[in-house]
Symmetry: C2
Subunit: 361 residues, 2 copies
Amino acid sequence: MPHAKTIECMPNSTRNKLKPQDVNASASKLQMADIARLAGVSTATVSRALNKSALVNDATRERIEQLARSLNYSINVGAKNFRLGHNRTIAVVVPYDVATRQHLTDPFFLGMLGSIADALTDRGFDMLLSRVDADKLDTVAQLHDSGRAIGIILIGQWRHHDQLNQLAQRNVPVVVWGAQLPRQLYCTIGSDNVAGGFLATEHLIKTGRKCIAFFGDVNLPEAAQRFEGYLKALSKYKIKLDKKLCVSVPFLAESARKAVHDLCKQQIHFDAIFACSDLLAMTAISTLRDEHLRVVDDVAVVGYDDIELARYFHPPLTTIRQPIDLAGRALVEALVEILEGAQAAPRLLPTQLIVRSTSGM
Amino acid sequence: MPHAKTIECMPNSTRNKLKPQDVNASASKLQMADIARLAGVSTATVSRALNKSALVNDATRERIEQLARSLNYSINVGAKNFRLGHNRTIAVVVPYDVATRQHLTDPFFLGMLGSIADALTDRGFDMLLSRVDADKLDTVAQLHDSGRAIGIILIGQWRHHDQLNQLAQRNVPVVVWGAQLPRQLYCTIGSDNVAGGFLATEHLIKTGRKCIAFFGDVNLPEAAQRFEGYLKALSKYKIKLDKKLCVSVPFLAESARKAVHDLCKQQIHFDAIFACSDLLAMTAISTLRDEHLRVVDDVAVVGYDDIELARYFHPPLTTIRQPIDLAGRALVEALVEILEGAQAAPRLLPTQLIVRSTSGM
DNA sequence: CGCAATATTGCAATCGATTGCAATGCTTGT
DNA sequence: ACAAGCATTGCAATCGATTGCAATATTGCG
């Protein structure tokens, strides 16, 4: 009676093969059973052959491999993962602000993406890139709950500390690129923002600047910590904070332009700018020129990130380097630890002052 | 008698719940059967409820949804897709050169990634980002054959015209960002490189330049076509081509530096550069300064891409804009057409000369 | 109150691969 | 020539959800 069943199955599977998707109307997908039939063996043998099990005869394996290759057959990963309960997909999430519908443009973030992509590829993970509404971070959890991804890398914590804590409490394997914050339950990897802010500011002070403007969005933890470093440096060198010099600008090129114009219009004196990203710094420099202020002579500028273009800018940009290549690997390593059940400790990557020309010699 | 079976099922499902993955040793994943048991209904009902079928009682649906929400249960997408034969995953492939193990750094490519990510998100596709060895493009086909992705977007055709044709012949749904070539079986979306090259060169000629250097890797179709535009402009204005001015440089910042140095060292006279990317243009400008050549006065420069930083560069960069936001949408639209069985026509997106300062006023 | 029509729910097959166990064939020793 | 042992192969259950069909509950109407 297995025969009867087999006979039933054949037209049945044929029927099914025609309907699955009208999307791909032409040739419905090859499956293991097809290979098995053509090779005159069972699917079990095909499965073992293609998975290089020692249980199949070398000649058989060779024949099956040949056949599969010639028909461009690959094991259906969906079915395989389903059966095995496996999954090597990591979701990389870039929150976006639904209000501004802001696109992904900052070279640093984009570079981070590249770095993570490389690190994941090296470890044999698949990378699912997701943009999610920054206000609906719980959809991030769904990526995990639904088994779409086994772990999540979030680029930028923005203002969502609490939601991230909730994620961690729900045991969603997640690693965040961002700042270390008090009472944080999730794992962050980030550069040492306080040190970076301090380095930048101290450097400006040491080269004789007194009125140092700060450009950055202090609503974001990373920028806030850079600001903290800025304050630390001021206080160490006994320079009084001038709040009018601290401008909260989002990480958008245009906003730096506006910030510089505003300072000038209000005739606030400043002889240096510490900007929270190279993009902001470069934009600021460009705007300073429009305002007929000489970079270095009138105003020194230090950026943050050290994107590739920083060194080719004119004048070459003094900046704080974030080790972007390390970043991808560190994020992935931490996530793997978490996936293995360990508790990954937050990690601060070293920042480094790269002195070029925008801060004097 | 369903009772007896139910009782059997419980320890069974419990047993299963413990083994699937030691990776996530804590709480093995919730599944539909768990929800069903807790709600006192069958999995069929849970499935229908969570999929908003009209076949379930509103009260029941509400109860089940509540339960699922409170337990953070999401339908297992893998199993669902498997059963349904569905899949909304598009693979975005960025080939990399295994020799240089080159990272993803060019802002334009990165920007393209962002643009595609947005376009795919808008259409409800998942985006699988893959880096593959440029010499093993057939692994790209596997992404499709194995059902991992239903379609593929390839960024950059590099030197792989033939392999791409093979892909298309195998009926792999693929769209390529790149140049249109003769006898091409696959669909490309790209900017009008010939027109772009022509615009850039003509502009330089019209502003009085005679010795225009070309920087770009003519082994790549896109750059080759820009070069073609360059030649067209020269010939239109009866300027003789000087081969010494045509430098084949890969799309790497460092290579532009070297190219400029070389020209100077060989004392080849040039009064303009048309570079095949903004990154190259900016690097070239920076190097010109090192060589004590004045940008604009001695050498005018036109770039290609119009990345965001181009306008904030100093001097603001004259360049050819590639409509990057359009690009993502166009690629996705074309791929969708192909997936629906249509034959997507290659598409040339318009390029535009953006005159700023590096080419004189 | 009884029966038909309708609204809900459950049963069980199914998607494509993997794998424990049983079955078969072949080799070898005696 | 036969049994034991090993090498291959096949059978059939299984992963977690979906869905056609059957079964049951509810409602409406005469």
